[in-house]
């Protein structure tokens, strides 16, 4: 169709369009303010849009006709001004309509259906629940200066490795009819040069929709100071919640917003829908990540390791989605922030591991555990590294340097050393775990020196190293990392301790039952010194009673180990006593008060050995030998 030279030809179309526009001028009439075109009637809306189109056409006509005139035609200028005014009125109206449609369809995301437990990670590591440390008897006040060991139970429902594949799921935030309307309006606004207004309106309404979604998802606005002040337990549940929420935000909420922008601004180019998208989500995205950032810079302490790893893994998992959703230049800062947080979390994890090692080394409690049983430190540390082995997948990638150990030749008494040559081919993580065990033993060795009784010291070491071995054997991942070579070393150590114990206690007891010194040279008939023999028996009885009384209160928690040690004792004690009795009882029985010297039968001793290492005191009176 030919463009008209002036407006007159088309004046009817223009005039009626103008009428429509003016009718809906909300600055002019009450009625126009009360009703919304796009809510009223499909037809009204179409008519209005057509009117706008008509006016826009006229505008370009006027520009053409004005510029094609040689001189400025006052009428043309007037016309142009009039048209401009009409356009402005139309744009103002459309802006309101735009806003209204957006508001009508902007509610918080339906989040209940989104937390689908089955859709969370595919691989669930076998978390074993941390053993509650309960061997500290409450009535034993001497343990109050020992460490407080309150390791949290890991909730296996929130699995720690989020290795599920990226699953961006866009949902329809608005019915398609609304989107069509918005598209139509946006087109007109943008072609009239009112892009900025359009973006402003869009951003402000969608932002408050996102805010409501955030509230529903439980995303809080916490300052860094708040996060530093909160108890770690409280933070743990916040972290859990954040992880769930962040996935929904990135994969569903933000992705859907992006799609919405693309749909509404489909016809007008990607820069615009990018701008709208960033206008909408930049602030909320920063708010979301601020929490993770605050966690990543909190003070390091051992109990934080696992939740920090959880957070790290979740963010790592989300990173590809973050990059997909925030792929424009203007969203650089968000991607960069996410990457920064990830690296801080990794650094924090490494730092915590280091600190843990130092803390184990330095743990200063001096009060010996009664009964020589398993020290709370041992339990804590072994539980901790078992858990570390559960997080092996992540930690193997994060831990890349060897532990800082003492040097073999430094002569420094305060740190153990570890020879790395014999640990070729092990990952740094495995080296760290071994180092932790080395350091633990070093500390335990120090603690054992506080026992006045050397036997008890040996028993203590035996118990604790045995526990270490059991824990390593009990976890396939841990065992694989520690390696059977080192395991053998550890086994050797506790066997050695058992032997040392036996030597320390029983050598002197069995010494009473030796042959030498009892025979007297000289007269032919009785070659045995009765007095010496009586002394022997008395000494043996006294020693045995003492040992029995004392060592019944000692404890070997592991049943099998207890049995084994008792059997080992019996194997040495019983035959020696039986043979001693056999050879020398007649000499005593032929004298006065034999019962003072031969107090116990072999069976009595056998029974008594069963009392050993039970952890209970026994009555002083052993069963006298029955007659």
């Amino acid at each position: 169709m030919e463009l008209p030279e002036n407006l007159n030809k088309d004046s009817n179309g223009y005039e009626s369009a103008e009428k429509i526009i003016l009718r809906w001028d909300s600055t002019a009439s009450e009625d126009a303010r009360e009703r919304m075109i796009f809510e009223t009637d499909r037809q009204e809306a179409d008519l209005y849009l057509q009117a706008v189109d008509e006016i826009q056409r006229s505008l370009s006509n006027v520009s053409i006709s004005t510029s094609s005139n040689a001189g400025k035609n006052a009428n043309a200028v007037d016309d142009q001004s009039k048209v401009n005014t009409t356009i402005q009125i139309a744009m103002a109206r459309l802006e309101d309509e735009f806003r209204n449609i957006l508001i009508t369809h902007s509610s918080a995301l339906e989040t209940d259906s989104l937390f689908d437990p089955s859709s969370s990670s595919i691989s669930t590591p076998s978390h074993h629940e941390l053993e509650e440390d309960d061997t500290l008897s409450n009535d034993d006040s001497s343990h109050h200066d020992l460490l407080q060991l309150q390791l949290q139970h890991c909730e296996s429902s929130d699995s720690s490795t989020y290795r599920s594949t990226s699953s961006i799921r866009e949902v329809d935030l608005m019915p398609s009819e609304a989107i069509c309307d918005l598209q139509a309006i946006a087109m007109r606004m943008i072609s009239s040069g009112y892009l900025r207004e359009c973006i402003q309106v869009y951003g402000s309404v969608r932002k408050s929709a996102i805010d409501s979604s955030f509230r529903k998802l439980g995303i809080e606005k916490l300052s860094i100071g708040d996060v530093q002040r909160l108890e770690w337990e409280a933070l743990e549940s916040k972290i859990r919640r954040w992880i769930r929420a962040a996935k929904v935000c990135v994969r569903i909420l933000f992705a859907s917003e992006k799609k919405l922008c693309e749909q509404i601004f489909e016809c007008v180019g990607t820069d615009i829908d990018d701008a709208c998208f960033m206008e909408t989500v930049k602030g909320p995205a920063i708010q979301l990540f601020n929490f993770a950032e605050a966690i990543s810079i909190s003070r390091r302490s051992p109990e934080k390791l696992f939740k920090i790893l959880d957070l790290h893994d979740a963010l790592m998992d989300l990173l590809p989605d973050i990059e997909a959703v925030f792929d424009s230049k203007s969203s650089d800062s968000i991607r960069v922030q996410a990457a920064e947080i990830l690296s801080r979390l990794a650094e924090a994890a490494r730092g915590i591991l280091s600190e843990f090692e130092s803390a184990v080394l330095r743990e200063p409690s001096r009060v010996p555990v009664p009964g020589g049983t398993i020290h709370p430190l041992t339990r804590y540390v072994m539980n901790y590294i078992s858990l570390i082995s559960d997080y092996k997948q992540t930690l193997i990638e994060l831990v890349i340097s060897k532990p800082s150990t003492g040097s073999r030749y430094s002569g420094d008494q305060t740190t153990p050393d570890m020879e790395f040559a014999e640990l070729e081919g092990k990952t740094p993580l495995a080296l760290h775990l071994i180092w932790i065990i080395v350091v633990l033993q070093f500390n335990l060795d120090g603690k054992s020196k506080h026992y006045r009784d050397a036997s008890l010291a040996h028993l203590f070491i035996m118990n604790n190293v045995h526990y270490i071995v059991q824990k390593v054997k009990g976890s396939p991942e841990l065992r694989e990392m520690i390696g059977d070579d080192y395991l053998r070393k550890l086994t050797g150590k506790f066997r050695q301790a058992a032997t040392s114990y036996q030597r320390a206690t029983w050598v002197s007891v069995l010494y009473c039952l030796r042959d030498e010194g009892l025979h007297v040279s000289g007269s032919f008939s009785s070659g045995v010194s009765k007095s010496a023999l009586r002394e022997r028996f008395k000494t043996f009885n006294a020693m045995f009673e003492e040992v029995h009384r004392t060592q019944a209160t000692w404890l070997i928690p592991d049943t099998q180990l207890r049995e084994e040690l008792r059997i080992s004792i019996s194997e040495k004690l019983i035959p020696a006593y039986r043979s001693f009795l056999g050879r020398f009882r007649s000499h005593i029985e032929s004298g006065r008060h034999p019962e003072n010297y031969i107090k116990y039968s072999v069976e009595d001793l056998e029974m008594a050995v069963l009392d050993f290492f039970e952890g209970y005191p026994v009555s002083q009176h052993l069963r006298r030998r029955s007659q």
Partner: protein
């Protein structure tokens, strides 16, 4: 940073072995020199900050470019400070008095500063929002001759702009409501009034009860200059750095809209006269404080130079569009004036466009730096505090 770097760069310097003590004697001289140098550099840099050509009015002091200089100043001083503290001769010094008290306080202030950084970043988003609204005004008034349509459009945008600047400030300070009526017609909000936050410019990312003024006030707690013998050791640069940090945060908050800034001018910096940079900071503090008081009375938005200009021009242009509405066409001198003002506004927008993003990035860098120093100090404390109960 990979763990190896971390270990090599820092742990390597701090000896874990108790029986190794790095010789101190020869280095004491060096240390004193370093401290003096630090102090000197601080005053020099401060003087640079204050220097502006005489014909530039004070208002231009808190401009975007000046703020960027301020942040540079902070980063330079911080780097030097860290050098003194960390590469010092005896690493265990940080756990001995008076540092055993001063360092934890410094760390606490650092955390507060981090929150201020975040709040200011959030505030910059508001400023960006004003910029965008102003750009609408500019594009409306750019067309010549200015017709009724453009004037209306400009007025609408101006109204949003002025309300936004006011509302944000109302959110920001508990100042009494201005008398200024919202001279816009109630368009777009139907009688059901579904969007209460309609005129809020930027969704607020800051925690609800957080107050910028209170935060800065808290940062000045215990900020006491070292006395007597204390002043000769590391206590002095620690104090200096503290004051610099608090001052920078304070200036940022004064310039940029942040949540709850009531009482900002009441915050004092104890800066004893003997410190050679004290005069500069006191002077600066007074100037900014006065401007702030003026602002509080008027009820206008932050002291950022560009924002002040925007506000001033906004008012002028608002009057212009008002008179346009009532008197119809305006030509000649008035039109030229309006065009000139619009051009100024365009210039302000341009400066914002150029400067806001780099400013945000700089604040982010400050954030990172503070975090890094804090982490390193915490590690150092843990290493040195071997006799203290471990964290298990």
């Amino acid at each position: 940073m990979p763990a190896t770097d971390y270990q090599a760069s820092f742990l390597g310097r701090i000896s874990i072995r108790r029986n190794q003590v790095i010789a101190m004697d020869g280095n004491h001289e060096q240390e004193l020199q370093d401290l003096e140098l630090f102090s000197k550099h601080v005053s020099e840099r401060f003087a640079e900050l204050l220097s502006s050509p005489d014909d530039v009015p004070f208002d231009a002091l808190l401009s975007i470019s000046w703020l960027r200089k301020l942040l540079d100043f902070f980063l330079c001083c911080e780097a030097e400070f860290k050098g003194i503290l960390m590469m010092g001769n005896d690493p265990s010094q940080i756990s001995k008095p008076p540092l055993d008290r001063l360092i934890p306080e410094f760390l606490d202030r650092s955390v507060k500063a981090l929150d201020v950084c975040n709040a200011v970043t959030n505030g910059l988003e508001s400023v960006r929002h004003y910029q965008k609204l102003a750009e609408i005004v500019v594009s409306a008034l750019e067309q010549k001759p200015i017709g009724d349509g453009q004037s209306r459009r400009a007025k609408k945008a101006l109204t949003s702009l002025m309300s936004a600047m006011n509302v944000d400030d109302k959110e920001c300070s508990a100042a009494k409501a201005t008398e200024r009526s919202w001279s816009f017609s109630r368009r777009g909000v139907s009688s059901k009034d579904r969007v209460p936050e309609h005129f809020r410019s930027v969704s607020n990312q800051v925690a609800k009860n957080w107050s910028a003024a209170k935060q800065i006030q808290a940062m000045t707690n215990n900020l006491v200059p070292p006395r007597g013998a204390e002043g000769s050791g590391l206590a002095s640069p620690v104090y200096t750095m503290n004051v610099i940090m608090v001052f920078v945060m304070w200036a940022l908050v004064a310039a940029i809209p942040c949540q709850e800034r009531n009482g900002l001018s009441a915050i004092h910096f104890p800066a004893p006269k003997q410190l050679n940079w004290a005069q500069s900071i006191i002077g600066l503090h007074e100037k900014i404080g006065e401007e702030w008081k003026k602002k509080e009375k008027k009820g206008t938005a932050g002291l950022l130079d560009e924002m002040q200009k925007m506000e001033k021009l906004g008012n002028i242009l608002m009057d212009f569009t008002d008179s346009f509405q009532f008197h119809g066409d305006i030509t000649g001198q008035k039109a030229e004036e309006a065009a000139a003002h619009a051009a100024e506004l365009a210039e302000t927008c341009r400066r914002m466009e150029e400067g806001l993003l780099p400013l945000q990035m700089q604040i982010r860098e400050v954030f990172h730096r503070i975090v890094k120093t804090r982490t390193e100090l915490l590690n150092a404390l843990d290493q040195v505090g071997k006799s203290s109960p471990p964290l298990l």
